[in-house]
């Protein structure tokens, strides 16, 4: 890095506060969502989530101290390593809920796919930063697409359609911000949409059913449509004030499947009502806004694309997750940032906050 540039050394406390509030809300919601399990087996999932949060904070702190530029320098290698894990998970992964997504090391299990999102962003940021204006050439788009398609296919194979799909908007956002020609991006999006129907043949039976029941949940009310119907009932029955913490019947009586992971927002809706949902949604909105502000005010192309990539991951998870539990989108299983139970994703998300803060911190002064 150059010597004549001085960083402003800013730190966005508001961002950290928002994340802390959301994580704390998440802990309460997870406690309620897993309350029956806790009563029966003594497993306290919110405590485990808290452990993951602590790990996440440590990782975030480490990344903040390390500085994003130094990580970007190693971007390709980290990404390569992550891809190796994604290959590994397909052979040696731990089978849960009919999918191989976890790698177990001792008592610790993690999902390489969650980390692939951020390592991919680092690798792509390095590429875009290195190539600079060269990205305007169509040839320059080949490498980014190759980088994206590898994890997408591997994750799709696990199978984890939702996570695989997150790579697509991240790729396009970063290309857009890096200055790729809009014309080429449009052509790519257009041809992608044209190919979408053929994707149908690669989908698993349950994934097809999910898409079908999105169009009409009553097609199979006790089968594929069940989850979305019950989720809508949970949210809708919460009303304005909600049924109260630990008092949601849909949640506590198990009408709602996956209610501590992908469908955690239904629990928020049921127990905390419209007020709780709207407050959470507002916090998410502020989070994204602050992230965008950091991305916007960064002139370093590496930091800018990196920040946009991270914000896009957050926004995608928030919008798609809430959209799907409300029945506005088909069910593609992706978790809700900072709220859904799941260590890998939480650690990754908090770590990303560390990176965002670092980007803000390293902002150049002109």
């Amino acid at each position: 890095m150059k010597y004549n540039v001085k960083s402003k050394g800013e730190f966005d406390y508001g961002l950290v506060l928002i994340v802390a509030v959301i994580v704390l809300m998440g802990l309460f919601v997870i406690y309620s969502a897993s309350y029956q399990k806790y009563v029966l087996s003594g497993t306290n999932l919110s405590l485990r989530q808290l452990q993951s949060a602590v790990i996440g904070i440590l990782v975030a702190f480490a990344l903040f101290r390390t500085g994003y530029q130094r990580i970007i320098d190693f971007g390709y290698y980290i990404f390569g390593l992550n891809v190796l894990f994604l290959v590994l998970v397909l052979f040696a992964g731990d089978m849960r809920y009919g999918a191989r997504r976890w790698i177990e090391i001792g008592s610790f299990a993690f999902q390489p796919s969650e980390f692939a999102k951020i390592t991919f962003i680092f690798a792509l940021a390095k590429y875009l930063g290195d190539i600079k204006e060269g990205i305007e050439k169509p040839k320059a788009l080949i490498a980014p697409f190759a980088m994206a398609i590898v994890p997408i296919l591997l994750i799709f194979k696990e199978p984890d359609l939702g996570t695989a799909l997150v790579f697509v908007p991240v790729l396009f956002t970063m290309l857009l911000i890096a200055g790729a020609r809009l014309k080429y991006l449009m052509i790519l999006i257009g041809s992608g949409l044209a190919c979408a129907p053929f994707l149908w043949f690669f989908l698993k039976e349950y994934q097809r059913n999910r898409l079908m029941v999105f169009i009409n949940p009553n097609l199979d009310p006790l089968g594929a449509g069940y989850t979305i119907i019950q989720s809508k009932i949970a949210i809708g029955s919460g009303g304005i004030l909600g049924k109260g913490w630990l008092a949601g019947t849909q949640n506590q009586l198990n009408f709602l499947p996956e209610h501590h992971t992908d469908f955690i927002f239904s629990v928020v809706g049921e127990e905390w009502g419209f007020i709780g949902s709207a407050v959470l949604l507002f916090l998410f909105y502020r989070l994204v806004e602050k992230g965008l502000r950091i991305a916007e005010t960064t002139s370093d192309i590496y930091g800018k694309t990196l920040a946009y990539g991270i914000v896009t991951v957050f926004a995608m998870h928030i919008i798609v997750n809430i959209g799907m539990v409300c029945g506005l989108m088909p069910v593609v299983g992706i978790p809700l940032t900072f709220v859904s139970y799941g260590g890998s994703f939480l650690i990754m998300s908090i770590a990303c906050i560390g990176i965002l803060e670092n980007i803000k911190n390293k902002r150049k002064v002109f």
């Binding site: 956002t173 857009l176 911000i177 200055g179 019950q230 809508k232 009932i233 949970a234 949210i235 809708g236 029955s237 919460g238 009303g239 304005i240 019947t249 849909q250 009586l253 198990n254 009408f255 809706g269 009502g273 419209f274 949902s277 709207a278 949604l281 998410f284 909105y285 994204v288 965008l292 991305a295 916007e296 946009y308 926004a315 919008i319 809430i322 959209g323 409300c326 029945g327 506005l328």
Partner: protein
Amino acid sequence: MRSRIYSTIINIAFLVILAGIFYLQVLRWPLYHTLAKNNHIRLIPFPGLRGTIYDRNGLAMVDNRLSFDVVIIPQEVENTDKTYDRLAQALGISRARIESIIRKESSAPFAPITISGDVDKDLAFSLEEQKQRLPGVLVLPRTIRWYIYGERASHVIGYLSLINKKELDDLEDYGYSVSDLVGRSGIEKAYDKYLKGEDGGMQLEVDAAGRLVRILGSKNQKKGRDITLTLDAKLQAYAADCLEGQRASAVFMDPRNGEILAMASSPSFDPNIFIEPGKNDVAVGYVKSSARPMLNRAINGQYPPGSIFKTVLAFAALDTKKATVHTTFVCPGRYYLGRAEFDCWKLEGHGPQDMRDAITHSCNVYFYNLGRKLGPDVISEYAQKVGLNKPTGIDIGGESGGLIPNPAWKKARRGQSWYEGETVNFSIGQGDVLVTPLQMTEVASILAMGGAAPRPHIIKKIGETTVNVPKPRMVPMSKDTADTIKSAMVNAVSSDTGTGQRARVEGLKIAAKTGTAEAPNGDPHAWFMGFAPADDPKVAFVVMVEHGGHGGVAAADIAGKILKFAKDNTELLK
């Protein structure tokens, strides 16, 4: 510019989601609230039984019994062809019939459809044994109302049918619900709120797998209150049998307290039909029949009383002192008023008759004379004194009041003056006069008790509480008057020239008066009114046969038979 596109997309996405949440939680809350409740709350109803109805001796007249319904849950049938064929064979109906029932009654998936209600117990058990071979077919036990006496007590007891929409709106606050049966006539209607059981039920909370989580609340069902009637079931059944095949009615009442011992009306209907599924055509037949089997002729049949009305004239004449027991008129067999001729029923004439003779022989000419002496206003006044022209106030309701005319009534009603000829007709209970058999039973009681008019009633006890009966109303009547009329009525049965001699019962002193009332379109109505034993009255009665001919034949025969039965087979006359 590029970042503007990006943030616009993000803003729109957040707004759409906020709108989506608002729609679900605020606008559609009522729907989802209900859906969530239906999800986890189950109601298991325990129907409350209706109260039993007993006769005066504690014999059950209406009870509840277990019945078996054969139902089908079409979605659970595995092999439609086989199941339907087997079921059709077992029930003895065609397969097409089963299919048409299922098509017609199918309301919601997994809702059981009744194929055959209240099947034979043996059939129910055999189907239950074949359960494995007939998946989707169930035999469900159900308690139903059982009218033990069927057609023989139906008018008094009444019947039940499903509550309708309007009634439900009115009665919902009193614990009635959609599938409730409500009383439609008689005791079942008048005492519905006592008889009606209180439905109980359990409210359960279940989880997603339908497992019981906890009991939210439960309410025990409560049987409605039992009712004890004043009826004697045996006498009631016998009286009903005696009327069979005729359009007739009979009322037997204890004159001392107004307890109705038997009240029969013919033709009759079977109340069991109304709660039996698939018997709707029979029920409609009852309502449409020109014989009007649903009509309780004892309280709603209004007829001219004919000669039994003469007792009222005798009372009026003696009480107003317009005549004494010795007042005599000669009966030449006819009576002239100007150029109009009025016949006695005995065309050769009764000759000289005093009051006793005239009652015993039912001489028309005597009463033409007496009536003209009294005038229509006095006759009308005394008819009303003995309770005619208005309902008796019996506790089953819906009673008719009859009609007692007088000049003022005619002027007001028809705008015409009263003719002398009408007085002549009025004197022998013809013309515009209308009475119900129950009203005349009340008259018989007053004569029996020398003026004490009891309030007719059918309910003796509700649960263990004895129903209060108002004290008899007193009709001022001198002992002489009462004795005179009574002795004449005794003669009517005991004398060989008496009109009611066919009613004689060995060892029972009966006082009675016959009546043969001219009726349009056919034979006259036959009446027989009286009480027994004459010296210590325990039963007052009226038998009335529409177009039955001579009261001294058709009605007296029936009355005699019933009285003999009462004497031989019941405690009523002891």
